[in-house]
C-alpha cells in the first residue's frame, strides 16, 4: 500500500539552467559542447525570469543553476530569489570560484536550497592540474563556508584514469569536509571527455579497484554522508537511462537559450532545437524535437523487444550518434548492440596509449575554436 508511485510524468520536473559557458576552470572532461566559444550571446535576466516562471507553471520543481560557472552571472542572486519565490528546490552547481562568505550569505537569504561543489581531485597538485587553475585551497575554504552557513553540500568529483586510484582519499576528504553527499561520477564520454577519451578512460582493473574501495568505505562509514557512485557505462555492458529517458522529466537550457532533452543533443544531425526566446516552455515540451525520441516508437532491434527497454530507454541518443553515426541505433555501451566493439576498442586503445603521455586538450576558448568545427557545436 505504501510507497512512491511511478506514474508516468508528462512534464519537465527537472530544469537545468546553464547560465553561461564562461568558466575559470578548464577541466578536460567538461560536458559542455566542444564548440562552446561559437555560441551567441547569453540570455538576458528578463528571459531567464520568464523561463523560470513558465517551467514552474508546467510543473517543474527541481532547478539547477549550472554553466560554465554560474557565479560569473551577476544576476544569479536575482534568479535564485525568483526561483525560491516560485517554490522551486534550487541547486547551485559550482566550481566555487567566485564564491565568498558574503555571497554565500546573500544567496542563502535569496532562498538557495543546496550547493553542489566540484573538486577535480583531493590533493592540490592533481586538482589544480586537471582544472587548469590553482583552485584547490579556495575550493576547500568554500566547502567549509558552505557547511558553516548550514547549506546541504554535495561534493562532486568526476572520475577518470588520472584520479580514480585516489578514490579512497577523495572519500576521506569529503568526510572531513562534512559533505552531506559525495558524488563520484565516472566521466561520461560526450563533450570534451570525448575529445580526451584516450587520456581519461581508466582500465578495467583501475575501475574494479576503485569500486572495491568505495564498497569498503561504505561499510565503515560512521557519518550520515551518503555516497552516489555513478558507474561507467563503458564498462557496465548496459547503457545508462540517459536523463531518465528522452523528453520524460528533464529539460536543459543552454546559455544562449536552446532547450535540450539531453546534454549532448545539440550535436545531433538535422535537428534544430527550439529556443526559449522564440517559443514558450510549454510549446518546447510538445515540440517535434522533444518528441523525436520520446517513448519507444523510434527503437530498432535489439532495443525494440528488449525487456530492459523500460529501464534504460535504449541509452543515450547522443552517444549512439557520436559513436555509430546514427542516433536511432542502440547505445553501443550496451553489450547487445551490434556496435559494442566500438566501446571495447576504445578501452583497448586507451590502455595501449596510456603510457604515451599526450597533453590533454583543456577546455578553453582557444581549444574550442580549434576543435569546435570538427566535433563541436553544429548550430551557431
Amino acid at each position: 500500500m505504501v510507497g512512491s508511485s511511478s506514474k508516468e510524468p508528462n512534464r519537465p520536473l527537472w530544469v537545468l539552467a546553464e547560465l553561461t559557458y564562461r568558466c575559470p576552470l578548464q577541466c578536460f572532461y567538461c560536458s559542455n559542447p566542444i564548440g562552446f566559444a561559437q555560441t551567441r550571446r547569453e540570455l538576458s535576466t528578463t528571459d531567464w525570469l520568464r523561463v523560470l516562471r513558465e517551467a514552474r507553471e508546467l510543473g517543474a520543481v527541481q532547478l539547477g543553476f549550472s554553466g560554465g560557472e554560474p557565479l560569473l552571472r551577476s544576476d544569479l542572486e536575482v534568479l535564485i530569489e525568483e526561483a525560491a519565490r516560485l517554490e522551486y528546490y534550487t541547486n547551485l552547481i559550482t566550481s566555487g570560484i567566485g564564491m565568498n562568505e558574503q555571497r554565500l550569505s546573500v544567496l542563502k537569504s535569496a532562498g538557495l536550497d543546496h550547493i553542489q561543489l566540484s573538486f577535480q581531485a583531493s590533493t592540490a597538485e592533481l586538482n589544480n592540474y586537471i582544472g587548469g587553475a590553482a583552485s584547490f585551497e579556495h575550493k576547500r575554504d568554500v566547502a567549509r563556508l558552505i557547511k558553516k552557513q548550514g547549506y546541504p553540500m554535495v561534493l562532486n568529483v568526476v572520475l577518470h584514469r588520472g584520479n580514480i586510484d585516489t578514490v579512497d582519499h577523495i572519500l576521506d576528504f569529503a568526510e572531513e569536509l562534512e559533505a552531506d553527499y559525495v558524488e563520484l561520477a565516472n566521466a561520461q564520454y560526450g563533450g570534451w571527455a570525448r575529445l580526451n577519451r584516450n587520456l581519461l578512460l581508466p582500465s578495467r582493473s583501475q575501475l574494479d579497484r576503485a569500486e572495491a574501495k568505495v564498497a569498503t568505505f561504505r561499510r565503515r562509514l560512521q557519518s550520515q554522508m551518503r555516497i552516489f557512485y555513478v558507474v561507467s557505462d563503458y564498462f557496465e555492458g548496459r547503457p545508462k537511462p540517459c536523463t531518465a529517458g528522452w523528453g520524460r522529466t528533464f529539460m536543459q537550457i543552454t546559455p544562449d537559450g536552446t532547450a535540450l532533452p539531453c546534454h549532448g543533443a545539440r550535436e545531433l544531425p538535422g535537428m534544430r532545437f527550439p529556443r526559449v526566446n522564440e517559443t514558450s516552455i510549454a510549446e518546447i515540451w510538445k515540440s517535434p524535437e522533444f518528441n523525436r525520441f520520446r517513448g519507444e516508437g523510434w527503437m530498432k532491434e535489439p532495443c525494440q523487444t528488449c525487456p530492459e527497454r523500460h529501464q534504460d530507454f535504449g541509452g543515450c541518443r547522443c552517444q549512439a550518434y557520436l559513436l555509430t553515426g546514427d542516433p536511432e541505433n542502440t547505445d553501443p555501451a550496451c553489450a547487445l548492440s551490434p556496435d559494442h566493439d566500438l566501446i571495447q576498442n576504445a578501452i583497448e586503445t586507451a590502455r595501449r596509449t596510456a603510457s604515451a603521455m599526450q597533453p590533454p586538450k583543456f577546455r578553453n576558448v582557444h581549444n574550442s575554436r580549434i576543435h569546435g568545427d570538427k566535433l563541436g557545436l553544429r548550430q551557431v
Binding site: 510507497g3 510543473g59 528546490y89 553542489q116 546541504p152 554535495v154 552531506d180
Partner: protein, 94 residues
C-alpha cells in the same frame, strides 16, 4: 541509524528535505538536493507526521486512524525503515 525500528525511537525528517504538495502532479513530493520523489497518499501521510520530531507510536496512531487496516502497523514500519535507508528520515534510539 538505519535498520529495524524499536519502541520509543525518535523519528524526524532529515534536514534539507522538503515535503510539499504539488498541484501539477496532484500529489505530495519529497524534495532534496537534486532529487524528487512522488509520494502516494499513505506515504505522504506518514512523511507529514515526520516533519516534526515524533515517535513510531505517534506516527502509527495518526496513520492508523486514516488507514485502519489489519496490516497498517507492519506497513508503516516497513515504510519508515525504507525511508531511513533512503536517508529521508533519521531514527534516533531514545
Amino acid at each position: 541509524m538505519t535498520g529495524l525500528i524499536q519502541a520509543g525511537d525518535i523519528i524526524e525528517m532529515a534536514p534539507h528535505y522538503r515535503l510539499r504538495w504539488e498541484d501539477a502532479q496532484q500529489s505530495y513530493v519529497l524534495l532534496y538536493p537534486e532529487g524528487i520523489v512522488q509520494l502516494n497518499g499513505p506515504a505522504a501521510e506518514i512523511m507529514k507526521q515526520c516533519t516534526n520530531r515524533t515517535s513510531f507510536e505517534q506516527v502509527l496512531g495518526e496513520v492508523g486512524d486514516l488507514y485502519p487496516t489489519d496490516d497498517v502497523e507492519s506497513d508503516v514500519r516497513e515504510f519508515l525503515e525504507e525511508a531511513a535507508s533512503n536517508g529521508w528520515i533519521i531514527i534516533q534510539r531514545a
